[in-house]
């Protein structure tokens, strides 16, 4: 398990983390990787190379390879000779890792953001999902799985528009 050891980041690492974090998500380009909460750590090695720790939203998320390639490209363009992107599973990513700004952008893009988890417990199903088009909370589930593993398909009863909901994980 990853422990909470605090490692002081250098200014360069902070700068590189900001660069890597600004890469847009390949499937949800309105979000950056930092807003999605999948960038875990940027570490400068003694040999001048850089290690980047990235965590997948879902174990089988196919976007992770595109994300890795994009991060590599951005950092290489910034003059880093060797970039190694590592996939880490622990601690497991949760939709609670999506930033407030990320949630706002999702809603603006027409995707209902995930609801926050109750502390330690499962997501209460009774909490309604708001339609990102008209704002009504009168929405119904069409399918638990949608265009990607991380979304569910819903429909607004008020405005009749179908929409994606970033489901809680």
């Amino acid at each position: 398990m990853v422990t909470g050891a605090v490692v002081e980041e250098t200014r360069l690492e902070q700068e590189l983390a900001a660069l890597a974090g600004s890469v847009p998500d390949p499937e949800l380009p309105v979000l950056t990787l930092a807003e999605l909460g999948v960038l875990r750590r940027v570490h400068m090695r003694e040999d001048g190379g850089v290690d980047v720790d990235l965590t997948p939203t879902y174990t089988g998320c196919p976007a992770i390879e595109a994300m890795s390639a994009d991060i590599e490209r951005v950092l290489t363009d910034h003059g880093i000779p060797r970039v190694t992107v590592r996939t880490v599973l622990s601690p497991a990513w949760s939709t609670d890792d999506i930033s407030a700004e990320g949630r706002r952008k999702l809603a603006e893009f027409g995707i209902a953001p995930p609801r926050p988890h109750a502390a330690g417990g499962p997501v209460p199903v009774s909490l309604s999902v708001r339609c990102p088009h008209c704002g009504s909370t009168d929405t119904e589930l069409l399918s638990r799985f949608s265009s990607t593993a991380c979304k569910a398909l819903r429909r607004c009863v008020a405005c009749r528009e179908p929409f994606d909901h970033f489901k809680e994980l």
């Binding site: 398990m1 720790d53 997948p56 879902y58 174990t59 089988g60 998320c61 196919p62 992770i64 390879e65 890795s68 590599e72 970039v83 190694t84 992107v85 590592r86 996939t87 880490v88 599973l89 622990s90 601690p91 497991a92 990513w93 949760s94 499962p122 069409l142 399918s143 638990r144 799985f145 949608s146 265009s147 990607t148 593993a149 398909l153 489901k167 994980l169």
Partner: protein, 245 residues
């Protein structure tokens, strides 16, 4: 360059292979529904579940060796998956029954492994959240079919009965997997009974093991449809060695 960070603890290869093969083989079976599912939403759902399982398989097989070699170049006898997951899709009720049996089991297993500090804990903590959605999906369909029309009830019952004999193998001990199989089995039976009760169905009767007296999938003994599945899954890779995208 992408790499999965190896765990520091020694990984029990037998267990990683068993769990990895379960996920890989069921993922492939679910993938066979692409283009054939009853409705578009269901096609997408089954493909998404398959993708989750494939992700789990990749992590597990990579702990043992090269994931592509393990998936595409092993012979049937070298696979260690449960016979349950290799069973053909059948009608939709068969697919759902297989999914219900397996997902309930996998969810209990990941929950237990996530609570420990063994080599599978990081993956289990991640996978348990995904598997919760698989259980939900299978349970909802079981209720809908079981408590549906006369025809859907008949088919759901037939599917549950047909696959019942493959369920005992899930609770057999696996080398390197630190779980109490009989405790897991009791919880599995209780959760299954609860779903079937909601579906107005009852637990199937009859033996849950002994489909083959010589052993089962964990010993590398598989049922006839598995060979055909592997032939389809592996033929491209074997026809073009070393090919890449």
């Amino acid at each position: 360059m992408t790499a999965t960070v190896p765990t520091t603890a020694t990984v029990p290869a037998t267990a990683a292979l068993a769990l990895g093969d379960d996920a890989l083989v069921l993922s492939h079976r679910l993938g066979e529904w692409a283009g054939h599912a009853p409705v578009l939403e269901e096609e997408v759902a089954l493909a998404n579940i398959a993708l989750d399982l494939l992700g789990q398989a990749r992590v597990l097989l990579s702990l043992v060796g090269d994931e592509d070699e393990l998936a595409f170049l092993r012979e049937e006898r070298a696979f260690r998956n449960l016979q349950l997951v290799e069973q053909p899709n059948g009608d939709f009720a068969h697919t759902i029954a297989r999914q219900l049996y397996f997902s309930l089991h996998q969810h209990l297993l990941w929950t237990e492994l996530a609570a420990g500090d063994g080599p599978f804990a990081p993956l289990a903590a991640k996978a348990v959240k995904e598997t919760a959605y698989h259980v939900d999906h299978a349970a909802q369909w079981t209720v809908r079919l079981g408590d549906g029309t006369e025809e859907s009830t008949r088919r759901m019952r037939a599917a549950l009965d047909a696959l019942w004999k493959y369920t005992g193998e899930m609770f057999q001990p696996v080398d390197g997997l630190d779980v109490d199989g009989s405790a897991l089995e009791q919880r599995w039976l209780a959760e299954l009974a609860e779903v079937l009760d909601r579906a107005r169905l009852s637990l199937p009767e009859g033996p849950r093991t002994g489909a083959w007296s010589a052993g089962a999938g964990r010993q590398g003994l598989h049922t006839e449809p598995f060979g055909r599945m592997l032939a389809e899954m592996q033929h491209l890779h074997r026809s073009h060695p070393g090919a890449s995208w």
